[in-house]
């Protein structure tokens, strides 16, 4: 039934072949972090075994080759999100650093007491706390876009909320409910109000075709480890003019043109924002992950996840009726395959423990979105999130495991 040959894909992920306690793994925690295909793992070991070298600094052939490989990864990222220039792609350590970079470097140069930053009730802490630090330090004001009953952004009052705002920070897809937000519309609303659009694209880029130019965004942030790539590397994309006008963030090697006893001058983009030795091997791995994703086709990945999301909604609702509550929209066109579920009042921690008995891996917790938890009226949820290597059988395994939770806590 599905667009992707999931059986063939699964075979490329060594960990999904693993048995734990004699049973296969049903990995449903990809919104947290994704598994890695063999090609990504191999790209990194091959690089370290055959081509590892410093970049940007040394002139010998090995170093020139490594620099090319690193910059080649940047071009892959550029194309993957359709950025205009490769030097608009800044490699960070994760999406969190990328968002902090914006808040520290752009924010501290441009936000002053009383200035308004608009966020939404479904933001991840990574797109909240960096701005709250500016509330403490600078006295900026944070406003919040509320949610509708089915977990979408309630845009009824958006124009009022945006009035006088300098930044509109929002997620492209909720990591808790799977809600996909109308990014393009939100970016243009931000611009109409004179605000910058800072898009947390962590949960979007791994699952869908991303086009920063079509979005009209100003900054977007995402992480390699959620898109089949390694840990230790994330991405900030920013519009060239903004990146050029901003002061630097971290200071040190690579980001300078000159250092004298009485001060320093900055290097050009992208070096300006990449202080110190970058995640070289990790950039190679991220490049391999992008090749892997491009071969599958991001439009196909999205279609597959629409199918899985639809199957999960039908199956869970049919089998458990009012015993289960799935947060977020039920229209698969505006959601991804990430589900926060409440089941028969069983605490998420207990639920995930029981599911783990049959190796069904779901995350129990607040998912780094405590303001959203309070909106939903819970401390925590159990979250099952599906990716390109999950199939309908995994949905069935989840449902079976929920049955056994009923047995214990029923």
């Amino acid at each position: 039934m599905t667009t992707l040959d999931v059986a063939a894909i699964k075979r490329q992920f060594p960990l999904l072949q693993r048995e734990l306690n004699g049973m296969p793994l049903v990995y449903l925690d990809s919104a947290n972090t994704s598994q890695k295909p063999q090609v990504v793992i191999d790209s990194m070991s091959t690089f370290m075994e055959r081509a590892y070298s410093p970049i940007n600094r040394s002139a010998y052939q090995l170093a020139a080759e490594a620099t090319d490989a690193y910059e080649g990864a940047r071009v892959k990222v550029q194309r993957f999100v359709n950025a205009r220039r490769a030097h608009e792609i800044i490699f960070t350590k994760n999406a969190t650093e990328a968002l902090n970079l914006v808040a520290y470097a752009w924010g501290r140069a441009n936000l002053h007491e009383g200035d308004v930053v608009l966020l939404t009730h479904m933001e991840h802490h990574a797109n909240i706390v960096p701005w709250q630090m500016l509330v403490q330090e600078r006295g900026i004001v944070v406003r919040w876009v509320p949610l509708t009953a089915d977990g979408q952004l309630d845009l009824a009052t958006l124009p009022q909320l945006l009035e006088g705002a300098k930044v509109f920070g929002f997620t492209a897809m909720s990591n808790v409910m799977g809600t996909i937000t109308p990014v393009q519309q939100l970016c243009s609303a931000a611009h109409q109000a004179g605000a910058l659009a800072v898009v947390d694209a962590c949960q979007y880029v791994p699952h869908n075709v991303t086009d920063v130019q079509a979005w009209g965004a100003d900054f977007i942030a995402f992480s390699s480890h959620k898109m089949c790539g390694p840990t230790g590397i994330g991405v900030l994309w920013g519009r060239e003019e903004l990146l050029q006008a901003m002061p630097p963030f971290l200071g040190g090697g690579n980001m300078i043109a000159d250092v004298r006893l009485d001060g320093f001058t900055c290097a050009e983009l992208p070096a300006k924002f990449e202080a110190g030795t970058p995640p070289i091997t990790e950039a190679i791995g991220l490049g391999a992950a992008i090749d892997f994703l491009c071969e599958l086709g991001m439009a196909n990945v999205r279609r597959h996840e629409i199918e899985i999301a639809g199957y999960a909604l039908r199956t869970l609702n049919e089998r458990f009726g009012s015993d289960i509550r799935l947060h977020g929209p039920c229209n698969v066109e505006v959601r991804g395959a990430t589900f926060s579920l409440e089941f028969r009042g069983i605490h998420p921690h207990d639920l995930s423990q029981v599911l783990d008995q049959t190796n069904v891996c779901v995350r129990a917790g607040h998912h780094c979105a405590k303001p959203l938890m309070r909106e939903l009226g819970v401390n925590a949820t159990a979250r099952a999130s599906f990716y390109l290597y999950n199939d309908t059988h995994d949905v069935d395994m989840l449902a079976d495991a929920l049955d056994s939770a009923s047995d214990i806590f029923g």
């Binding site: 921690h349 401390n379 925590a380």
Partner: protein
């Protein structure tokens, strides 16, 4: 469900379903709130100390079966006990949860301190992530006592 009997003993599920000493105590009772950053659970512990004895204790907030039952059993075990006995019990319980002492060394169990029902929580040690659930109310109790 094979394998989970050790964790979800009947007595734990019982305390989870019917928690003892639920509620609040008005000031001057001491009150502390504990957070489990992992799962977002919050627990409230209220203690009334009189003449060096836990005169009353109540537990509020919400959490998983392990944190709720641990809090419930704790409240039963300490109510009416002199403070030194309570502190010895905290130590003994944390030792059972394989929490190291102040210097990072394993704690020797003081076998003269009896755990009673709390013994049922022993199975938690096999699930390191849940240890924080089991000890949440105990750490919160210490916070509350430090205030009183």
């Amino acid at each position: 469900m094979p394998g989970l009997e050790d964790l979800y003993r009947e007595i734990i599920l019982d305390h989870h379903r019917t928690p003892r000493n639920r509620g609040e105590l008005p000031p001057p009772a001491a009150h502390a709130v504990g957070h489990n950053p992992l799962c977002g659970d919050e627990i409230d512990v209220y203690v009334q100390v009189a003449n060096g004895v836990i005169a009353d204790v109540k537990v509020g907030g919400s959490g998983c079966s392990i944190s709720q039952s641990s809090a419930s059993m704790m409240s039963q075990a300490i109510k009416g006990k002199p403070l030194p006995d309570v502190l010895a019990l905290v130590r003994r319980f944390k030792g059972m949860m394989s929490i190291p002492d102040e210097d990072g060394n394993p704690m020797e169990p003081d076998l003269t301190v009896k755990l009673g029902d709390l013994e049922a929580l022993q199975g938690v040690v096999k699930y390191p992530v849940r240890i924080k659930c089991a000890t949440l109310s105990w750490n919160t109790l210490l916070d509350a006592l430090a205030q009183s």
